[in-house]
Symmetry: C2
Subunit: 507 residues, 2 copies
């Protein structure tokens, strides 16, 4: 028997976040739970910022109810979530009391493993959340956001791992959201962390498959001693998603490493999601291949389409290449943050501004904040000239302390605001929903009684839309000479897929 | 500087064979040749049975002209072809004189590297072709078709490699057409071949990406000393195709291995083929993911769809699972041939017969021939009972000698038949076309003067049918109440991109 490599499946969270715009309804995950629970996973990642957001914004689902349902349906397996440190699942820093409250409630509702990260790798943005998880007795995973830059050496990451251990992290996650982790650095990183932090340090590796090299990185990390790896059931994998779980199992045959996974269970889960996937094809990412240009620009696919639409809006679609070349320079100027939400958007938008308006002629408010330390500190030095411009424009001082230290206790205030919303049920969970999504929560509280919406569509039925109208058109003149009085919905076939589109004739 | 790993790109042959049903026109490959030639490849695979067949069957292209054009446009790089041993590029055994003539002509027209294989791994089916290549002074690559069975041990393959070397092979190819080669066997196989045949034995590894593990197998093979590997430019890779060339280059960074490839040239080729690919979308394989079930059934995707349509034709579509389970049993009965053309079709069809009509109640003629030795010998023993049935049904004896030894000299006869065809130009090349494709060649000889057909379609133009009618519609009623007399073209926005689509109202 070889050494056991443990597996976390991300099918219930990051897989559909990466490939189906986070739209999968709980209803479509429930039938897979029994097989997932009995397959032998170390954990199942099933909760995070985007799923929470999507639940209340698009699916009319209570995210806490989703968590409790997972807990009930997955009694044998650890539940895992992704937590943005001091940002929780929202888009700003929260005061420590709110962070603690969130962690308590998540633990109480069934969460086992908290993967805590900060977009800038600023440890001060992780410490409250990690301490809170430790206090509940649950598993606190400290996260290194992997990136590549002149300052991000293997030694720098190893030092970060040491600090995370000192903070009490039960395991260390290497999170490679942009698929930048190549096989040799994967090996070196795991090897050195084990050497410096102790061979018993649990290392958990999360990679995406976008660049096509990370399956090999998984293998090399395992050879270096990596304990747990993330993958996704093959019917919802690859592209900007993850490496396929079944392939990870097969890859290890004869190597002296093995998983505890039951292939028959995996096959059932795969077959199940292969039928669910086409129900969400309108949300399906177009990108199913491999893109190695990311190594050069470090710009994830989602960010490129963002920048494209910003440029189009300014009638400057032809300047994308200039922007792509500007991004690494902007990133250098602000101290080489890893490019992940929100730093990727902040850097990308500033690069667009620089190209359209001249170098740092105008700074976005968010970019100024990033320069001035309001998101936390970066590993690299900031460009002094650009920093001076940020100070001048934002009329705010540079801060060097922990951003959340500027915040006053806010729970009571958030609680009374939340309770004033129609439909708020008065629980701490509802207050947290309001605290993290103040724009979306009020609408959700009101519509919640209507119950969950499933945005998946039967691939056959969905095409048979408005048969009555079509018939009426036909009656009025068949396919020739139908009188149209407004936009009409058609089913069109594009790249071999059927899409429903609404068009205005002659437009 | 690390050890150099050489790369063969299959973009000009196996990539579009695997992903675009071999339909790519020479015209669409020409513009990429300069970059391909200067990228630093060891060789470019550009010719084989399916491309030859497709040229004369679908594209009205002279395959010899295609070869000469490649030679002219790729002066710096070795041209490589795939040769089915004694079958040449056709579907039967040819007498040695024809084999020699073919090899001479291919070498004369510019071929450098001949990858010679036999579907059954019967070395006697390789020896004439390998000797013929050696005689021309070109590179003879002896091929092991990789498969998994109780008799296909690493040692058995190593022994085959030794025999290939004794036959004069300049290099050894491990050909994993079904993506069955896992990382550890890849390592062991390369390691042991080097140990037994000498460290200077050139080993060339060909894998497909279908099962999702073979990128790792490439890495492990390289670690074991593999000299050359096959890959394909990323815009025409993955699925049942190959691992992406650019990802192979990136994967090696820092490992002590490196390629000679120029990334800027690869990017140009990638960008070019990303624009060509959509032109062939009607031929594009649906399968873009990973399928690990192949490890169990060993049934390649193409074979499954074959069997499905055979079953459907018999009104027995619901019995696919039974057939999938029957295939490994039939394969065992006929001595564990690797499943590759034509053995995959022969075994698959017999499995269908067994399920529909009862176990070996009826044998196909091809299956009887396979049992009786008319395709060559298999590594495993044949089932004696089934062998007896084959003898009884086919009324032919078992043969143990080399199948081609039964053939009489046939060149003169083939030549006079070919010359009798309208449009045959009297060259040995035309005689070979006729010899290998006697059904298709006559039609091709006749239509050849019309010149090549390009089956690719402009993804925009093809949808922009009848613009005059659309204009007329607009004139007749603007956006409200336009009387439509036929399909109209609209521009619709889908997933953030604009597409031109043609729709029929009321359809």
């Amino acid at each position: 028997m070889g050494r056991v490599v443990e597996i976390t499946d991300v099918i219930l969270r990051d897989a559909h976040q990466s490939l189906l715009a986070t739209r999968m309804a709980m209803e479509d995950m429930v039938p897979a739970c029994e097989d997932l629970d009995n397959a032998g996973y170390w954990s199942l990642e099933c909760w995070g910022g985007a799923t929470y957001d999507s639940c209340i914004r698009f699916l009319n689902e209570d995210p806490w109810e989703r968590l409790r349902t997972f807990r009930k349906l997955l009694p044998k397996t650890r539940l895992q979530m992704l937590l943005r440190g001091q940002n929780l699942l929202g888009y700003r820093h929260y005061e420590d009391g709110v962070v603690e409250r969130f962690v308590d409630k998540a633990a109480e509702n069934g969460m086992d493993v908290f993967r805590v990260f900060d977009a800038l790798n600023d440890l001060r943005n992780l410490k409250t959340a990690i301490a809170a998880v430790k206090k509940t007795g649950k598993h606190a995973q400290g996260t290194i956001c992997y990136t590549v830059s002149p300052v991000h050496t293997v030694d720098a990451f190893v030092e970060m791992a040491q600090h995370l251990k000192e903070m009490g992290a039960d395991s260390i996650c290497i999170k490679d959201m942009a698929a930048l982790l190549k096989p040799q650095p994967a090996y070196d990183l795991v090897k050195k962390i084990k050497e410096k932090c102790g061979q018993d340090t649990l290392i958990h590796l999360h990679v995406h498959s976008t660049t096509g090299v990370t399956m090999v990185s998984l293998m090399k990390a395992i050879e270096a001693g990596c304990d747990i790896i993330d993958s996704s059931i093959s019917s919802l994998a690859l592209g900007s998603g993850h490496n396929p779980t079944e392939a990870v199992v097969e890859m290890l045959e004869g190597t002296g490493y093995e998983t505890r996974l039951q292939k028959d269970r995996l096959l059932k889960v795969k077959t199940y999601f292969s039928k669910i996937r086409p129900r969400y094809r309108e949300f399906l990412s177009d990108f199913t291949g491999v893109d190695t240009e990311i190594f050069k620009s470090q710009i994830p696919g989602g960010m490129i389409s963002n920048m494209e639409s910003q440029l189009k809006g300014q009638g400057a679609a032809d300047r994308l290449q200039e922007v792509l070349e500007e991004v690494p320079r902007v990133r250098a100027d602000c101290g080489y943050p890893p490019l992940v939400t929100p730093s990727s958007q902040i850097v990308g938008t500033q690069a667009v501004f620089n190209v359209l308006m001249g170098k740092y002629k105008a700074l976005t408010g968010e970019f100024a904040d990033l320069m001035l330390g309001y998101y936390g500190s970066t590993l690299g030095e900031k460009n002094a000239e650009v920093l001076a411009k940020a100070e001048a424009q934002a009329k705010k001082p540079v801060i060097t302390g922990r951003p959340a230290d500027l915040l006053k206790p806010e729970w009571d205030h958030l609680r009374s605001e939340a309770l004033a919303q129609e439909g708020c049920n008065g629980t701490d969970e509802d207050v947290l929903t309001y605290a993290m999504f103040p724009q979306v929560a009020p609408k959700f509280f009101k519509s919640r009684p209507e119950g969950p919406k499933n945005l998946g569509k039967d691939p056959v039925k969905k095409d048979a839309a408005k048969p009555a109208e079509a018939k009426a058109d036909k009656a009025a003149g068949g396919t020739n000479g139908a009188a149209l009085s407004g936009p009409v919905t058609y089913v069109v076939s594009l790249h071999g897929r059927e899409h429903k589109v609404t068009v205005a004739p002659g437009a």
